[in-house]
């Protein structure tokens, strides 16, 4: 019998939910699976909406690939991926999930309105039946490939490899996008997450300095546009902090 553990996926909006899921679920599973299956060099994290018994769920899949440069859907095709062919990919992923979370499956809230659905349904294709081929049913969100850490870094001392995340997600299902909160309220506390709010405000704390600098840039830009000489170009470059000599 398959065991399931429910884990909380938090975030203010779909983007924060997606980052939490990728950073703390997909990457952890990928690192563990790559340790367990050393021949693999990349892990695809993909999503699909699957219709069962009149309900649609947004589900995830991990696919290991020997070739870090392979592209979806080839990574999920046996013809192009020997590891899927003999079940090594699925076994490594299943073991990774069990090692990390103590269960066969992680439930992150996959029904409509639930966290995983809110984060990823927009990147999925149209709902498919459970028996649909993976390559066409699932859409890749990110590929996590082995990366070499900077020699001598803390990370390099503690792990044999790192991960490089390459975004593959595109919005296949715009009907699953949540409406922009900004259109419905003028209070920034309602349309920005707490983190975005303080980041945005903090960004403005040195605006006076930015205005001074941009004013200088603008003066030199206008001077160069009126007289495109090498000297004026160099002055403009300097105002923008470009250090190398003009060609």
């Amino acid at each position: 019998m398959t065991s399931v553990v429910s884990l909380p996926l938090y975030g203010f909006d779909p983007d924060e939910l997606a980052i939490n899921a990728i950073q703390w679920f997909a990457k952890s599973v990928a690192r563990r699976a790559l340790q367990l299956e050393p021949a693999a060099n990349a892990v695809f994290f993909a999503v699909a909406r699957i219709a069962r018994n009149d309900a649609v769920r947004c589900e995830y899949a991990f696919v290991l690939s020997e070739d870090a440069n392979t592209t979806w859907p080839f990574a999920s095709s046996p013809k192009h991926n020997a590891m899927l062919d003999d079940g090594r990919s699925q076994r490594a992923v299943a073991r990774a999930i069990r090692d990390l979370y103590g269960a066969d499956t992680v439930d992150l809230g996959h029904g409509e309105g639930q966290p995983f659905y809110r984060a990823f349904a927009r990147f999925s294709r149209d709902p498919r039946t459970p028996d649909a081929p993976m390559a066409s049913a699932f859409a890749p969100v990110v590929v996590l490939s082995k990366a070499v850490f900077e020699p001598g870094s803390w990370e390099a001392r503690n792990a044999d490899f790192g991960l490089r995340a390459t975004r593959l997600a595109t919005v296949h299902s715009p009907e699953c996008e949540e409406p922009a909160r900004r259109a419905t309220t003028d209070d920034p506390r309602d349309y920005l997450s707490p983190l975005e709010l303080v980041d945005t405000i903090q960004r403005g704390s040195e605006l006076r300095y930015s205005i001074q600098r941009a004013t200088t840039v603008r003066e030199r830009l206008d001077r160069y546009r009126a007289d495109p000489s090498d000297a004026n170009l160099q002055a403009l470059r300097e105002s923008l902090g470009i250090r190398e000599a003009a060609e």
């Binding site: 975030g11 990110v142 975004r167 919005v171 920034p188 403005g204 495109p228 170009l233």
Partner: protein, 256 residues
């Protein structure tokens, strides 16, 4: 959506409690399971938290994991006699945390403060670890490779709970040496917070235009220069007007 940083090291929650639960369920417990599977003598893993100045911010919050061969380790003794005392050397515990998180967990100068500062007393980096840190959660071995966890921390500094105006992202002033939580954003009057956000957005627009200008000017040749810069010059002029207006709006909101 395109701005999502897929390599972000941050973690998110709408409240301090959600962020703490995220840390426990996605970091501490998976690390404990990997550790218990690979180190038979390990019986528990303690997440300890401490708030003290270290290198950068005065209100920084630090997290540390301590493995023990006892299911109920004593504190502060554990800080001195944990299974892997050399925290900066590679060992079984650091390998497990690297597998789970890629390196360690969190951000001492921001996210950790939002999540855990309420659970700490302000201390000092000159104190022994057993005094500077205190246990927040214990994950105990369950069988060969599973765990159960229990939160042992409690609310000690209420002004930090659910307060996102802390650390390096603190919204007023540029002084790093804070010894208390900042003003809660929910208590800031609407007019002022709108003005502050507009000022921040104006600063971002200026930054983006300057970045584009930098790229364009790097590649420019004298022949096509003025024409290539026409559009950017107009955008910079408009952004400067908006920025000046936004800066004045904050001054007006803040004047008595």
């Amino acid at each position: 959506m395109n701005e999502i940083n897929w390599d972000s090291q941050r973690w998110f929650g709408r409240t301090s409690k959600e962020m703490r639960e995220h840390c426990l369920r996605w970091y501490v417990e998976p690390t404990a399971r990997l550790l218990f599977a690979s180190v038979p003598e390990a019986q528990s893993l303690v997440l300890a938290v401490g708030q003290f100045w270290s290198d950068e911010a005065h209100d920084a919050v630090h997290l540390a994991l301590y493995a023990s061969d006892e299911p109920d380790p004593s504190w502060p003794e554990l800080a001195e006699n944990s299974l892997f005392p050399e925290r900066w050397e590679r060992n079984k515990l650091s390998e497990c945390t690297s597998t789970v998180s890629g390196s360690s967990f969190g951000d001492s100068n921001y996210g950790n403060i939002v999540a855990f500062a309420s659970q700490c007393f302000m201390s000092s980096q000159d104190e022994p670890e057993g005094d500077a840190y205190q246990p927040w959660a214990v994950a105990r071995r369950k069988g060969a490779n599973d765990c159960t966890s229990k939160v042992v921390g409690e609310l000690l500094q209420p002004s930090f709970e659910d307060n996102f105006n802390v650390g390096f992202s603190r919204i007023e002033g540029s002084d790093d040496y804070y010894d208390s939580a900042g003003e809660r954003v929910e208590e800031i009057p609407l007019g002022r917070i709108k003005a502050l956000v507009e000022r921040g957005e104006a600063a971002e627009v200026l930054r983006v235009i300057e970045d584009e200008l930098r790229e364009t000017v790097r590649a420019i040749s004298t022949d096509d220069g003025p024409r290539a810069l026409e559009n950017l010059a107009a955008r910079l002029a408009a952004a400067l007007q908006d920025a000046t207006r936004a800066d004045n709006a904050v001054t007006e909101e803040e004047s008595p």
